[in-house]
Subunit: 353 residues, 4 copies
């Protein structure tokens, strides 16, 4: 059994980790911390876990995190980097669901997150936890920076057409790399379990809006990821929107096809690239994915379209932002790091309706 | 033109007052205060009012409230009673949308609102602003304590069967007064525009729950109101629930009919009692009201039922909690206080769908 | 492995059966029929099942249902009773999710469902599939009439206070049996996957209403169930409401306590009655259940309250209408009928948020 | 008073017309037809109109439509063109909310709507009812083809940068005309009040999806409108999505700026183009419109953005699909046709929250 600790389990990624780990046959939850809720049984805060999680929240200072095999940080940005060194020294692996180990460029990190990076050396060895791109590196990693929810969907959606092998096979770029548009829509759980006016039901319910269009923190992360995939500069417009629903991300991705790209069988390209991927489902040509088709599961579904009368590629990607976009991907990474079958504990069938 | 001031206009009852007053032909908005947002144009916070409300929020200390004819308090409990004396001395009428002037018994007020009452003498002359019960008193009032949203619907629903004239005509009580049950359901705007976890879309969306069943502040207000109507003691169970919608209250009211009550034509009783009421619509026998049928309007709709095979009376009442349950009723009271036709500025047709 | 057939798998209880059976370690899905969709892969209609259910819908006339061990009917009322005899003759057990085998009185069935009963002899041996009441009978049953969604929640909620042993222990009725009120609220999936105007998102969204208050088909079923529990006549008012959410039932149950009932420790009574029940969770005193705390799981949660200043008992019950209120309860019954541990394949943790 | 008739008033654009006309000081509703509901009082089907609309639905064959000044068709495609000739001959003006008089090319009409056009001669004189583009022609028109809901928002959003005067002033195209992307999101009322599975609350609630990406009927209409504005060919990708809300359209419009376009002050361009427009609100730079800010009102709000680090123009447009996207625009056109102030009866303040 893998001994697991969770730092900061009172948010949505925290309770989702608990849901998944409670069903994981090889994981044993050893400690979960919360400064504010020390002593409160987890199942009192989240009655959905009554009878399934017996632990109480413990004081971060006293929790036996150093006796865990792996610790998840489901905390605000900045927490994981302040505690990682000590845990690593104790031989504990670290998986951060926040942004501390995502951006490789510390200047970029500081610009977007308004804090200096506490441990650039550890960041240097951290692996970006997107298995479809970095599977082998994740297996060997000691520190994982898990992708953000939007970045997961956008990178998966563009991966096959930016992939260097595909580009080489086609004899050149398949899409115009400087002209990508990711029009993304997220449910309100993406904003976290924080007291805020903007995400009240009476504000966000029966309503639709864009937000952060002048610059969202996931933009540099997406660009870094796409450039790593492409091996070349990539530019994109990223527009997040808030949908009046609880879970789910829907990304509508546009890219102008090059003459080379127009010759490629894109459906086949996507199917081939993701063949064998346990958690990426390329739907048949003409399909229309919907977010509920992946609700509460670790699967991302992708449909590839060529809008009529245009040179565009349009890719539709759905994921559950709390599972493949966060906690499920964390468990997937953990499985890889500990040599388990990648899908262990992640076989939940999506909940529809 | 009536010169109107609003204290605390950044919440839902505040913005609803602004919506209604912007369409009121005899009201002129003179000042709106907010300590936090001083200087911000109202239409910047609420873009729905762009081009319709030109005012900016002003500092409560500097706003010319004493030059108004009437001041609405759309504030937390406790504010109106601290400012009412000064305004009244300046000849300004006061309409409080919070609870300061609702409960006649100051001990009861202190028990439920955890603060001493600042001006029992003013409370003594305040009128409870439910026009269907207190119309004449409202016309002459200087201070109005507007009913809460739930209490409005529950009192309207029970009014015809507790009415002393109806009881006298029937020769005795129509319903068992000690055994009333008000099972009420409210949209999330009823919780106010406050940063809170419990009313986030990701908490309250796609979910249903009861709350405050061990004692809600509207219980003593409802009991006081029903006892005033009946002229006798009344006891009730009041169960509020939170519905994943923005606006609307639905009250399902139960009362056990006495033998005398079983002989009465209840449909006729309700129709007669509310005949001529501009904002209470008794629907035809067998009707099923729904909250959207009154959305954004000042109308309450009522349907009277006798559940099959029982001795029960069931009354279904719908209202928009922000209009008839708050700001619309406030404008209705203002109209009465200033000798205008009662429905002035309140002729909005409900928005359906 | 239990060979399972499903008749009529294109509705919500059908797809939910598929979700649960796809995760059931001892069940093998052999056939699923749909007259309309013959030939269509199940996962094409329900992409949530891609990679999890390989079957296509087959023609009811050709499906090898007689080679199954058990057949679920997720069909409109009237279908199961027309096919049960043949299946039983072939040694196949039958679990009906519709109403054909619920009401013991065929006259009552005909009155509410407007059709004659096709097989009163089979009805006579059918067992009402509520494990918390009929566990032993279910184990031996060949035909199960599964309870409706509302009836499950209402019967579980009243069970401890109507229970004959509890009444005997208290020396008399605990509650007034002729005066029960079940004020129930359901998500829209309860109306089924049928093209109808009334449950369109644009009709039922951001809206709340009661329906069928003049007589709902679940009323006679609830009454029959409560009378079986009490061994005496029971009368109740049952008021269903439609909540703008997808899944979930919330039942607010009222009962006037007798003097004997007022002396009983009701919290202890409920805890004792459901001790050992795998799918009924009596929450601690003072709790407020919410529907999402059981979303997508087979658990019902119950909280027991005494409203302040009254003689009432109030019981709050939440369940997922498609799981404990339908398909999950069906799998639970199947497990009992085939001698499996009762919770096999039903250990999904509720999905929150 | 303008005598108004409505053909087919049982859908959402019909009831919205009724809401607006009931508040219109110069319109008198003379007849409303429905084949199916003949004889039913309008307010029985739509209780929101109780006390506001006294008419009953009348038989289309018997309704005195020829005595109206104007008849609105709130019908499925194909109805208006079959009745227009007779009405015009009687001197009645016609405003069609469906597609019969939108597409100037009858071959295009037949391709997308699968029916021959019944009256190409009338189509030839019909005016496309977008006042911001065709105001003068609307004033003189006898037949109006009202724009679709999506096309209204997309055309308003691109109007200033495709406008021929603006292009001339800049010395060339401001945006790449062949590369436009309209990523549009609509509430469920856009699908109409039709019994359908896909828009049930249990299907579309708590869910997000794209639809008709392989070709939506509004695509040729948008293209025709944009080409009329630009006076040149225009190509675009149009992606409609379904949002789990009742009302509202949000269009996120992308266009690659040309070198000439990059030099233009786009905020000023938009403000100038729509200066004086009573129902188009260009928000201040940096604004984020949301659909609720125009709920139940005839206003469209527009925000102009330059995504960081790109050559793109991004325009965000919100409208209420049933008002500016349909019935409100119809009343606006009627006002123009009858020489009334354009905003008569259209001064509803948006309902927020």
């Amino acid at each position: 059994m893998i001994k697991v600790g969770i730092v900061g389990g009172t948010g949505y990624t925290g309770v989702e980790l608990l849901r998944l780990l409670a069903q994981h046959p090889q994981a044993e939850l050893v400690a979960i911390t919360s400064r504010k809720e020390t002593g409160m049984p987890v199942a009192e805060m989240f009655p959905s876990l009554r009878g399934r999680v017996k632990l109480a929240f413990s004081d971060p200072a006293e929790a036996p995190l150093d006796r865990c095999d792996v610790v998840f940080f489901a905390t605000p940005h900045g927490v994981a980097m302040s505690q990682a060194r000590e845990l690593l020294a104790a031989g504990v692996k670290v998986i951060d669901l926040a942004a501390d180990f995502r951006l490789k460029d510390t200047a970029e990190f500081e610009r977007w997150y308004k804090m200096p990076h506490a441990c650039p050396d550890i960041l240097a060895q951290a692996v970006y936890g997107l298995p479809e791109v970095n599977r082998e590196a994740i297996r060997k990693a000691r520190v994982i920076g898990l992708p953000g929810c939007y970045p997961t969907s956008v990178q998966l959606g563009y991966l096959p057409v930016l992939d260097q092998a595909a580009v080489a096979a086609a004899g050149g770029d398949l899409v115009e790399r400087d002209n990508l548009i990711a029009d993304c829509k997220s449910g309100a759980s993406g904003a976290g379990r924080k007291a805020e006016v903007a995400t009240l039901l009476a504000e966000a319910g029966d309503n639709f809006k864009a937000y952060s269009v002048t610059g969202h923190r996931h933009l540099p992360e997406i660009r870094q990821g796409l450039e790593a995939i492409a091996g070349k500069p990539v530019n994109l417009v990223f527009t997040p929107h808030l949908v009046p629903m609880v879970r789910g991300i829907f990304s509508t991705l546009y890219a102008r096809l090059t003459p080379a790209g127009r010759k490629v069988d894109l459906q086949a390209l996507y199917e081939k690239r993701f063949a064998g991927e346990p958690f990426v489902d390329v739907m048949p040509a003409g399909s229309m994915p919907e977010t509920r088709s992946v609700r509460a599961s670790n699967t991302a579904r992708i449909a590839v379209h060529r809008p009529p009368g245009s040179d565009m590629l349009m890719v539709l990607v759905v994921e559950d932002n709390l599972v493949k976009g966060a906690s499920g991907q964390g468990v997937q990474a953990m499985n890889l790091m500990f040599g388990l079958p990648e899908g262990t504990g992640l076989d939940q069938v999506p909940v529809l309706p």
